[in-house]
């Protein structure tokens, strides 16, 4: 019988490490896009023709992203080999496809469609690592699942805005829809399972992160508008935008946890026994 996450505290910690590395990778990717550094290393898989490129200016952001990607892929491979579940293999496949997509972006000089797919798959991969770490293999809660899908759609729309292939309007409209769906999922969970920390915590995290996202999104939009004529990416715009990306990922992760944990009318004791 293959080991499960619940069997080993070290396996749980390892899975949590994978989640943390993936989140760091998402943040690093946010910095790459905000600094317009995606092509600072114009070759792949080498870096300026070598293993370690000259660590100058924007090259540092892109190289850090590639190093984190390699670490995350190796850690995910280790987790997949250890667990041997469908979800783990899917996560491994996702991170390998992401690596290949990174190469496509360099090879074909950053086509916008590939950049959007890269961003979307990053979010999906993050969700998979969260699902692995929180021992969820099925989405049980309808409201939380719908909220997770809405938040994922917002990632895609946000990436389309970042890469200049869509206006902010669909993303702004999507924010309203996603917020309503998150409130539905979070509040309905809190009203019925306030005494269950396994559900209360992700519900509270989802609600607070999503509300933060609304304000971060407004700030990111205003920062972008204020610095539209700047000759280079300005620090304020970069940091707020990356914070918006990071909070979006965390909100999506919270929705995945909530969706996997919250089965309707399942008593707490029964859920504990099943885990």
């Amino acid at each position: 019988m293959h080991p499960t996450i619940v069997d080993s505290v070290w396996l749980r910690r390892y899975a949590a490490l994978v989640v943390c590395c993936t989140f760091a990778l998402v943040v690093a990717g946010g910095f790459v896009t905000s600094h317009d550094a995606a092509l600072a290393i114009p070759d792949w898989p080498l870096n300026w023709g070598r293993l370690i490129p000259p660590l100058e200016a924007n090259i540092r952001y892109e190289f850090a992203h590639r190093v984190l990607a390699m670490i995350t892929a190796l850690l995910t491979a280790g987790l997949a080999v250890k667990l041997r579940t469908r979800l783990a293999w899917t996560a491994l496949a996702a991170v390998l496809v992401q690596a290949g997509l990174g190469g496509v972006l360099v090879r074909y000089i950053d086509p916008a469609w590939a950049a959007v797919v890269h961003a979307a798959l990053a979010q999906l991969f993050f969700g998979l690592t969260v699902a692995l770490a929180w021992r969820t293999s099925r989405l049980l809660s309808m409201p939380a699942s719908v909220a997770a899908i809405a938040l994922f759609a917002q990632t895609v729309l946000g990436a389309a805005v970042r890469h200049h292939i869509a206006s902010p309007i669909p993303h702004i409209f999507g924010a309203a829809v996603a917020t309503i769906l998150v409130m539905w999922a979070g509040l309905s969970t809190l009203m019925t399972h306030m005494d269950d920390p396994a559900l209360r915590r992700p519900a509270l995290a989802l609600l607070s992160l999503t509300f933060s996202q609304v304000f971060l999104g407004i700030a990111a939009y205003m920062a972008r508008a204020a610095t539209a004529d700047a000759p280079q990416p300005m620090p304020l715009m970069v940091w707020i935008t990356v914070a918006h990306v990071a909070a979006g990922s965390l909100a999506f992760g919270a929705a995945v946890v909530l969706a996997g944990q919250a089965a309707p009318h399942t008593p707490l004791t029964q859920r504990t026994a099943e885990a």
């Binding site: 600094h35 317009d36 550094a37 995606a38 092509l39 600072a40 114009p42 070759d43 792949w44 898989p45 300026w48 023709g49 000259p54 100058e56 200016a57 924007n58 090259i59 080999v81 293999w89 491994l92 496949a93 390998l96 496809v97 690596a99 290949g100 997509l101 990174g102 190469g103 496509v104 360099v106 090879r107 074909y108 000089i109 004529d229 700047a230 000759p231 280079q232 990416p233």
Partner: protein, 261 residues
């Protein structure tokens, strides 16, 4: 085990797709709008008998304040300017109230001819982590000599819409790269992904009738066949303006532009 093999094949496939440095840019002077110099059937400007259009690009309105570039990400770039603040070159208003770096070209009206491609290359240098010149013009198919005079690494990333794009690194001491664009395109932005404040523009014209305004804001276009032309000025911030001009043999006409800030 089978899943491991599937995953390995998938990642290898994507690796092969991703490997490489991008499409090969046009490095030979094969133009769609001009022909190599000295080839049969090509035309060259007749400066002795042709018409001349001169003029200036004046700037009216409040002189915009240009942002100071933040080169702190690369100390070698800062050192190159010896502590002096470097301003964005987006709008450079000369002391005589004219605009520098305006690209002026004959947009339409020329006879349907194959114009000879000059054999000399136009230089685009990376110096002090800035492109020099900020705006250049070439005949379609003419070579651009891209140089790196800095002690730091650059990558050169033109972003054409009509021509093939490319993105290449250039280390200090590396020999100049000879590049070209075979199709007319006004204008092609160029950036460095390593140093995001670096920006330049390349005007690719199928004829040799173009000019870039300098420190006095003037332009001169010589050797025009007699005729009526649309002459256009392009500026990176203020867009384009067109005027009509009719010029005869050995005639000189003045066309001035006024751009409001």
């Amino acid at each position: 085990m089978r899943k491991i093999w599937i995953g390995a094949v998938l990642s290898c496939s994507l690796t092969f797709i991703g490997c490489g440095g991008g499409e090969k840019p046009a490095e030979t002077a094969k133009s769609e709008g001009a022909a190599p110099a000295g080839g049969g059937g090509t035309a060259t400007p007749d400066e002795a008998n042709g018409g001349t259009v001169t003029g200036k690009v004046a700037f009216t309105g409040d002189k915009p304040k240009m942002a100071t570039l933040d080169m702190s990400a690369q100390p070698k770039c800062e050192a190159a300017h010896k502590g002096e603040a470097v301003k964005s070159q987006e709008v450079v208003v000369n002391s005589n109230g004219t605009l520098k770096n305006a690209f002026v070209w004959i947009k339409s009206g020329l006879p349907d001819k194959q114009w000879a491609i000059p054999s000399n290359a136009v230089s685009l240098d990376q110096h002090g982590c800035m492109y020099e010149p900020h705006v250049i013009g070439i005949v379609a198919g003419q070579n651009i000599e891209v140089k790196n005079s800095d002690p730091t690494n650059h990558n050169i990333h033109p972003m054409p819409q009509v021509n093939a794009d490319w993105n290449e690194s250039q280390s200090p001491g590396e020999p100049p790269k000879m590049k070209t664009f075979p199709r007319q395109e006004v204008m092609i932005p160029v950036k460095c992904n390593v140093h995001p404040w670096m920006r330049s523009y390349i005007g690719v014209v199928s004829s040799p009738f173009f000019a870039v305004t300098g420190d006095d804001g003037t332009f001169t276009i010589k050797g025009l066949p007699p005729g009526t032309y649309t002459i256009e000025v392009w500026h990176e911030k203020y867009g384009t303006q067109d005027q009509q001009v009719t010029v005869g043999a050995k005639e000189s006409k003045t066309v001035d532009f006024s751009i409001k800030g």
